[in-house]
Structure formats: structure tokens, C-alpha cells
Subunit: 375 residues, 2 copies
């Protein structure tokens, strides 16, 4: 067990050996991040080409024989549990962590395949990073920088094993959150999986819409449907893997949509019920406003209300540079930014969010520099 | 009729007088935009304070007696039709346009209140702009720059009246789209009103979620729920006003969500039906991908596939300026940009979208300048 090497505390890089099993995007990125930070990283993948590529990229050394302190199983979700079980059996002293994006299903499958004593060395985890591209070639040493990495111990998991995985996750630049697997799955059902399904279904309504109607799309639907550009196979796996947590939330969302649809249907056909129907719609929108206000601001801070200004910028190279040079000259830190596009107009609209205390200074400086500043 | 003054063509500013009835955010902004472009603008509002403020801001001159060629009725949606009818009767030579965000209901109500001959001078329109703030004090001369302004003629509407309203809308900097009222309402139901309801309902699920679960919120749910921060009263009015077009689309979305929920429910409880259930989920996500791909790119162009890179930037003033200075130095035009935040990490992730042809140059230049560039 790792604590024997590190004297019970958190290990220094030079004393910890990490094995990556599965050198795709996530596995190779973990290897790159940990190698860069001085950890010894061993790589293995069923595909000789994939593991050679990961090694060439600097993610570690190809090796399936030397013992490691921690093994990250970065296999596809549907085989993660069997690979974890295999590694727990093969390496009786190693901590074994998986990185699949659903946690209870994997943990249950691992539990069914190993002895209780082996379960002490299993740590479920979920680095919340990833790109549309896959494979070692898309890997990045800083893929996890600024991202959340959830660690989900089982009741049986050795606290030192948890600590070691947390330590390695932090070494990749991620922010670690620790919670039970069921809690993770319930959380991502609401904050990730249900929004994905909702975005896909809203976007699906555009499929057969006339061109002239599509042309009225604005910033709102662009935001709502941005994640609908995702890969159907990947999302089918994720949703199926977390079906027990996702289904009831989706059901609730479907019922609430149905309630609003019925209220509006009554309003359209029969004004006598207007009052009650309007109330149901208003309550729903207000509940959404309250829910939205709970989403954390930057850096996981309590939700902040930022002041927002909109600046039209011409469609030409260098326009952003001029704008952000002037923002920098104001000594103002941006909390958020986004861009909107009008249809058919040669101008972009940049929305800048800043702390309320500095918005007047920002506006003054930008107007001084000749920018038009909206609120 | 205006064509008599302009010889049948589009009028020059100096020959057209515009009256704004209702000097709130939209009315005052129209006044500011048209005054700045040399049109003579007359202002009137039931509130003496509101009209005085609009005049002080430079939106036009207070006057309820001089005849105007075009009257923009910028009254609240629920009184727009009666104000339009009143103006059509009072000024028998003027073109009267409203700016409400639903069009069929207003047109029907106008039709019920005026003679067929008067209907020739009514032009429904919808400038797709607006801010959370309201009132003349929030008005901006360039509120409509880069935005879409939909013009919805009735069958009876005089083509010259339509032309004149289109001309004035363009003079504010907006891009004009012309379509029947029912088509507008059906379009905004799908591209604006249903996404709003979906975003609100997804966000509403966060209302009572534990803090630790909320902390896992990422860029996806932030995008999906951004518009859920909207005003319940305003949206209740909009949804009620377009209830006939919104209700069936919402009903369809609710049914599709229910289908996915049931498929996932079967997957969670009974693996025998797994194949069919997975297929239903995958089809839905794929439909969403196809629908999303139809949303126009910048400037109403055909949807473009942009190349995207992600650059982590430190959380300090001037970081954006440095980044965008370097982007500008690459001679690359940004097509889109957004910012993501990790939870608990002192770094922001800026996503830059550019034409695929220039992404290599962008990456090279940024890496030369010391930025870490992800794909």
C-alpha cells in the first residue's frame, strides 16, 4: 500500500509509480500531466499502436510488468469494471482507480467481481474533462487544469487509497471534490445528463423547420442547444450507464413541460381559465430563475451577480485585441465573456461580465476609447 | 401615404417624420437611432416623465399634434393592438407599426378594431433586441445594430407601407426579415419560446439540489440555463401571447422527453429491452445534432463548422488583453468565443472558434507566445 512508502502522508512524486491502463484521450492526458510533474508513469493498452503513440508523446514508458502504486483504468465505460477487477487481482498492493463518467454502475460491477479485501484498494473517480476528439493524439498535459475531478470512495475503500488518488488528481491541475458514487450520479444526472437530453430535444425541433424560421435563431437557442452537437454513441453509453438516476429527473422535467403546455393550450383556446394558467407558467419561470441563480460563479465561489455590458465590435482581425487591450487598460478583471451574432449584420456583440463595483470604470474607459457600450 | 412624398421610392431621412408612441426601452432606442440618422422624430407617452426623459436623451421632440409618416407603437404587448387601432383612426395618412414580440394575436386584435381600409396602413414588426433593464434610461441608439428586425405584413397591407417600415428598421442598424405573422410566431415558438421554457425547467431542477451537487455544474448546464435568468412576468406575457404556437411544440418536446425517460427507466430495471431502448436514446441525440447543425453561423451565413481551441488564462487583469493581442498578431478573425470556469481552480478557459483554414496558424502563434493551446 502506498502509505508504507510515504510514511502515511501524501507521497512526493519521486516515490510514486503510476500505471495507466488505456491510453486514449483521458489516459494519455493523465500520463502527460503526471510525467510532467515528476511521477514515474507506466503505460499499457490492448492496442500496441495506441500505447506506442502515448509513449512517443511523453505520457510515460510502456511497461506491463513493473508494480505500480496507483493504476488508473481509463478504458471505455462498458469494460471499465472488468479491467478494474482484473488489475485489483493482478496487482495485490496497488490502488486501482477508474475514470468513467458514471460511478455507481461501475462500482457495483467491480464489487460483484472481487473479494471484499480487494475492494479496499478500489477508488472510483471522474475527471470532468474531455473533448470531441478522442485518442492519444488529442491528449493534453493540461486537459484537467481548471476542471473538477470527482473522487467517489466506497464504504470499504482505504482512506489512504482515497488520499493518494486525490493527490494525483490535484497534481494534474484539477480541483478535487469527494462524494459517494450515488451522490455523484444523482448530481451529474441533474447538472449534466438531463441538460444534455433537454438540449438535444430542443435542437431536434429545428431539424425540419423552414429556413426562414431557422434564420430567427438568436443567442438564446444557440446557448441552450450548444451541447446538442455531441456524439450520439458516447451519450447513449453515458445515459444508459446512469439510467437509474437520469430517468426520474427526466420524467419530472417531462411532466413539468406537459403542465406548461396544457396551461398554454387552455390559454389559447379558452380565456376563462386564463388566471390560473398564467400563474402556473409564471411559477415555473420563477423556479427556473431561482435554480439558475444557484449555479456557482467562477472558481466555485458563491453565485455572484455580475454587471454586464455589451460592446459591438467590427468583424475584422484585431478588433478583439483592441477591445481587450482597452479592458486591460481599465485594470478590470473579466468574470465572464460571450459573443452574440446578429443575423445578416457585419458586427459582433461581445458581452463582458465584471464585478458590479468596477462596471462604471469599465464603461468610462471603453467609451473614452471610442467603444459603444450597452447595458 | 409616404410614397407620395418620396415619389414611390424609399424616402430620404429628411423627408420622413416618425412618431414614437411609448418611450420605454424599445421606443426610445428607435427614437435615438432614427434621430441620429437624420429622421425627424416626435415622441409621446402617457407618462409625462417618460416622454420628457426620452426627449432629454435626444430621442426626439415631444409632440402629439403634428402628423407623422410612420408611427411606431412601442406600448406593452397587452395594449399594443388598441394603441395601434387608435393611431390608425387618429392619423388617416400614417403608416402604423407595432413592435410587440408576438404578431398574430396583435394583428387579429387590430383587425377586430379597425376598418379594412385602415388595415392597409398597419405593419406588424418585431425588433429582436432587448435587455433585462427597461425604460428610456436603458435605451441605446445602437440597440438594434446587428439584431434581426422581423416585419410581418398582413394580406391587406400596402406594399409601400411595408417598404417604409423596412427602410426605417434598416436605418437603426438591424437586419430585416419579412414573413407572415403566423410564420413569425411559429418560428419564435421553436427558436425562442420553447428553448426558454426548457431552460427554465432544467434550471428549476437545481432549486433544491444539495450544494455539493450544484458544485459539479459545468459549462454545459451554464449554457443550457443561461436564459433561465429571465423575468417571469415578461415571459408569462410572451408565452401567453403566443400560446397557440408554443403549446403544440412544448407538447411534442414533453412527449419526446417522456419517451427517453421511459427508455432509460427500462434500461435501469430490465436489461432484456436494452437494445431497443438504447436505439431510441441514440436517435434522439442524433436528431438533436442534426437540428443544432442547422443554426446559422455568424451573419446569417450557412452553418459553418469552426475549428475550436481552448486556451487556459490566468485570473488577473490584463490576461485577456495579452491573449487577444496575440490572436490579433496572428491576423486571425475570431468567429466565436466563450469562457468556461472550472470549480475551485484559479484559471479560466477561453474557447476560440475560427475558420478551419487558420487554426494551425492561430495555434502556432499562440504557442510561440507561450500560451497552452488545447483542442
Amino acid at each position: 500500500m502506498p502509505e508504507e512508502r510515504s510514511g502515511g502522508g501524501v507521497s512526493r512524486p519521486s516515490t510514486v509509480t503510476v500505471r495507466i491502463v488505456g491510453t486514449g484521450l483521458i489516459g494519455t492526458s493523465i500520463g502527460l500531466a503526471l510525467s510532467r510533474n515528476g511521477f514515474r508513469v507506466l503505460l499499457t493498452d490492448p492496442s500496441p499502436t495506441a500505447q506506442a503513440l502515448a509513449a512517443d508523446l511523453g505520457a510515460g514508458r510502456i511497461d506491463d510488468e513493473v508494480a505500480a502504486d496507483v493504476i488508473f483504468v481509463a478504458a471505455p465505460p462498458d469494460v471499465a469494471a472488468s479491467v478494474v477487477a482484473h488489475q485489483l487481482r493482478r496487482w495485490p498492493d496497488a490502488v486501482v482507480a477508474d475514470v468513467a463518467s458514471v460511478k455507481q454502475q461501475v462500482a457495483d460491477a467491480v464489487r460483484a467481481q472481487v473479494d471484499p479485501a480487494q475492494l479496499r484498494r478500489y477508488v472510483g473517480s471522474h475527471p470532468m474533462a474531455g473533448r470531441e476528439r478522442s485518442g492519444a493524439v488529442a491528449a493534453q498535459a493540461d486537459l484537467f487544469e481548471g476542471r473538477t475531478w470527482v473522487v467517489c470512495p466506497q464504504d470499504e475503500t482505504d482512506p489512504h487509497a482515497v488520499e493518494l488518488v486525490q493527490h494525483l488528481a490535484r497534481a494534474t491541475g484539477a480541483a478535487v471534490e469527494t462524494m459517494p458514487a450515488a451522490e455523484h450520479d444523482a448530481a451529474v444526472a441533474v447538472v449534466s445528463h438531463v441538460p444534455q437530453v433537454a438540449a438535444s430535444i430542443v435542437a431536434a425541433q429545428l431539424r425540419d423547420l423552414p429556413e426562414a424560421a431557422i434564420a430567427l435563431s438568436g443567442g438564446g437557442i444557440r446557448d441552450v442547444t450548444r451541447i446538442a452537437a455531441s456524439d450520439p454513441m458516447l451519450w447513449t453509453q453515458i445515459l444508459a450507464g446512469n439510467a437509474a438516476a437520469v430517468a426520474p429527473v427526466l420524467q419530472r422535467v417531462a411532466e413539468q413541460l406537459d403542465t406548461v403546455a396544457r396551461s398554454l393550450g387552455r390559454l389559447a383556446s379558452d380565456a376563462t381559465d386564463a388566471e390560473g394558467s398564467r400563474g402556473a407558467v409564471a411559477r415555473l419561470i420563477e423556479d427556473g430563475r431561482l435554480g439558475h441563480a444557484r449555479i456557482p460563479g467562477k472558481h466555485g465561489a458563491a453565485p455572484a451577480t455580475y454587471a454586464t455590458v455589451i460592446v459591438p465590435i467590427p468583424d475584422e482581425p484585431g478588433a478583439f485585441a483592441r477591445l481587450f487591450h482597452d479592458v486591460g487598460a481599465a485594470g478590470v478583471n473579466l468574470e465572464d465573456l460571450r459573443m452574440e451574432h446578429g443575423v445578416g449584420a457585419p458586427v459582433g456583440l461581445v458581452e463582458l461580465s465584471v464585478l458590479p463595483a468596477v462596471v462604471d470604470r469599465l464603461r468610462d474607459v471603453l467609451e473614452d476609447k471610442g467603444w459603444s457600450v450597452h447595458e
